[in-house]
């Protein structure tokens, strides 16, 4: 499996993970270790950035985990930029998962504020990974302002519905010059495998692992699915056919003339 490079950093796992909704921090730690994930996103609102003993942060002190602070909870570009600056200072990383979803029901990202914040954060030297709707034009606009990747959604966050935006994700992957990480909605290992087979560079999974009856077992299942899907993509999937190949082709007579 080819390693993935984002902003000069190499990842050997294409499964990125979240830290919410687990029943205990120790279980979160065990599941994330099992997943093999090397990029772990943390909601700034859930942690005390200035406390090294914070219950979530203290369980993420492993060399393989790179922290990806996210701005979940902010409603505007201005709030996002301010929160990212505090996170950079406190957590000593200039990586940020930009999440601006002013709508608290479906947590759908605001494209206008996200683009404005991305532009500002890139200027401030951040490695920006924006969470967006599966909007191919917006993804190009974000790439233009210098984001390190794009993170289009498969379905609303936490919905576990899979790749409901499949056709648009295909377009985004086809035309992107930056890594495409499919975020949100991936509810089963088969969804993750499907995303990888279609050529996504990585997937981000949280709810499906955290809320499983056995989060450690589910983390392992996702790990395997992501590897399988990626390997299938790299090996070149056989084309699918809408109908059987006719044994007596209509044009065979051309050879006989």
């Amino acid at each position: 499996m080819q390693p993935l490079v984002i902003a000069g950093k190499t990842f050997h796992s294409r499964l990125f993970t979240g830290t919410g909704k687990f029943s205990a921090a120790t279980l979160m730690e065990a599941a994330l270790l099992e997943s093999g994930s090397e990029l772990v996103t943390v909601a700034l609102k859930r942690v005390d950035m200035y406390d090294k003993g914070d219950d979530i942060l203290s369980h993420l002190h492993h060399p393989q985990f790179n922290l990806l602070p996210n701005t979940s909870g902010v409603r505007t570009a201005k709030e996002a930029v301010y929160a990212a600056q505090l996170a950079r200072e406190a957590l000593e990383t200039n990586w940020v998962k930009l999440e601006i979803h002013p709508d608290p029901r479906y947590l759908l990202p605001d494209p206008v504020e996200t683009l404005a914040a991305a532009e500002e954060l890139v200027k401030l030297g951040f490695i920006v990974l924006p969470y967006v709707h599966a909007d191919p034009v917006l993804c190009k606009r974000l790439e233009d302002v210098g984001t390190a990747a794009v993170m289009p959604l498969g379905a609303p966050i936490g919905s576990n519905k899979g790749l409901k935006t499949y056709d648009f994700l295909e377009i985004i992957i086809a035309q992107s010059n930056v890594p495409v990480i499919i975020d949100a909605g991936i509810g089963a290992p088969s969804h993750a495998a499907q995303a990888m087979e279609m050529g996504a560079d990585a997937v981000l999974v949280n709810t499906a692992i955290a809320v499983a009856a056995d989060p450690i077992g589910m983390a392992r299942a996702f790990k395997q699915a992501v590897i399988a899907g990626r390997q299938a993509f790299e090996s070149g999937l056989a084309t699918t056919h809408r109908q059987a190949q006719a044994s007596s082709p209509l044009t065979a007579f051309l050879d006989e003339l």
Binding site: G20, K21, F22, S23, L44, R46, L86, P104
Partner: protein, 369 residues
């Protein structure tokens, strides 16, 4: 404004519609992909009672998917028991001959220290309504004192003007809880005969003023026991539905305060048993997957333990309902008696035992600056 929608509904007709719901209506509501207000009416109706177990399973699954294995913990800080209102059911009511007090800045810091020592990051400030003691100026003074110590500050105080809320939000005000008490206009008047609170419509329009001010979160509810809880809950859901459409950037929570005894109070007119409260909680969850559902220490220990898995997402713990109750003045008059007297640590341990993580912090004060 919600008053325009409210005026199109008649209490007696709504009540009759709920009580005439049938098994078929309930089954349709249970099977629905997206549930409407009419489905909610079916789920809170007597016809849904035999379906409680099924409702509980759906509620648990929806809550788990949305909120995970977590429970938000918060604690109230009563700042004052001064009050110019007469509310027939409340310990702080004007006519109650009790010693009144309002916490000073220094006393608030003493209480803060005790509350922080328990682990809390989310606090709910509570007062009566008394302009000269706990008006806008008081809140403008005390929010900057509290803000450095808490990640998330909510208030349950008298309704205010939109401009007042706009002044308090930048000082760290995150959420406002304002319960209509009852949507039955005549009964409302009966229970609130005197004081600013006697103005039904002013209270009813408070969520609109909060929404316009851009508040992050607001809490709705009725005081269960004043009137028919099913009808009151339907109006709450109607209110919620309107607010979610109109102020779509705001989060909403629902509380279920059941009338508790206090010194000199009236007994509840309507009783709601535990089974019915579970039905109501599940009905809200089935109606709205993302709504926060909060349960206070008014409810007793064993019942609260079981509610953890049925749809509730926030709990208070270690609460005192009197100003200064944590350290400053433990004997001052309380608003109501609490039933679950366990400490915050004991509640967190109970949650852990059930496979739930206590969430102390779920906001960052930097987001509001």
């Amino acid at each position: 404004m919600f008053t325009n929608i409210f005026s199109q509904y008649d209490w007696d007709q709504v009540k009759a519609a709920i009580y005439s719901k049938t098994t078929t209506d309930v089954e349709r509501a249970l099977a629905a992909h997206r549930r409407t207000l009419d489905d909610f009416a079916a789920l809170i109706s007597p016809a849904a009672a035999p379906y409680l177990e099924q409702m509980a399973h759906i509620s648990q699954q929806l809550t788990l998917q949305r909120f995970g294995n977590t429970m938000q913990l918060y604690i109230p800080m009563y700042l004052s028991n001064e009050c110019q209102n007469i509310c027939t059911y409340c310990g702080f009511s004007l006519h109650n001959k009790i010693a009144r007090r309002t916490l000073s800045a220094a006393e608030i810091l003493q209480e803060t220290e005790a509350i922080k020592a328990m682990g809390f990051e989310h606090i709910l400030l509570v007062t009566g309504e008394a302009q000269q003691y706990v008006g806008l100026d008081y809140f403008k003074k005390i929010l900057p004192i509290l803000q450095p110590h808490f990640s998330n500050i909510s208030m349950e105080v008298q309704p205010m003007e939109e401009e007042d809320y706009k002044a308090l939000i930048p000082l760290g005000l995150h959420a406002v809880l304002v319960y209509q008490e009852t949507y039955h206009q005549a009964d409302y008047k009966l229970h609130h005969p005197k004081g600013k609170k006697s103005n039904f419509n002013y209270r009813l329009e408070t969520p609109d003023r909060l929404g316009k001010a851009g508040i992050h979160k607001m809490g709705l509810g009725v005081l269960i026991g004043l009137e028919d809880w099913r009808t009151d809950s339907f109006f709450t859901a109607l209110h919620l539905d309107y607010l979610q459409r109109t102020y779509w950037k705001t989060r909403y929570s629902i509380s279920f305060p059941r009338l508790r005894p206090f010194s000199g109070g009236l007994p509840p007119k309507v009783e709601m048993n535990n089974r019915e409260l579970v039905q109501l909680i599940c009905a809200y969850r089935l109606f709205s997957q993302e709504i926060e559902l909060s349960i206070s220490t008014r409810e007793e220990e064993r019942f609260r333990n079981h509610l953890v898995k049925l749809g509730v997402t926030a709990m208070s713990a270690g609460s005192k309902t009197n100003p200064g109750g944590y350290v400053v003045d433990r004997q001052s008059l309380e608003q109501f008696e609490i039933s679950d007297e366990r400490s915050a640590g004991e509640i967190a341990a109970m949650l852990q035992q059930q496979g739930y993580e206590a969430v102390w912090k779920d906001w960052d004060k930097s987001f509001s600056q």
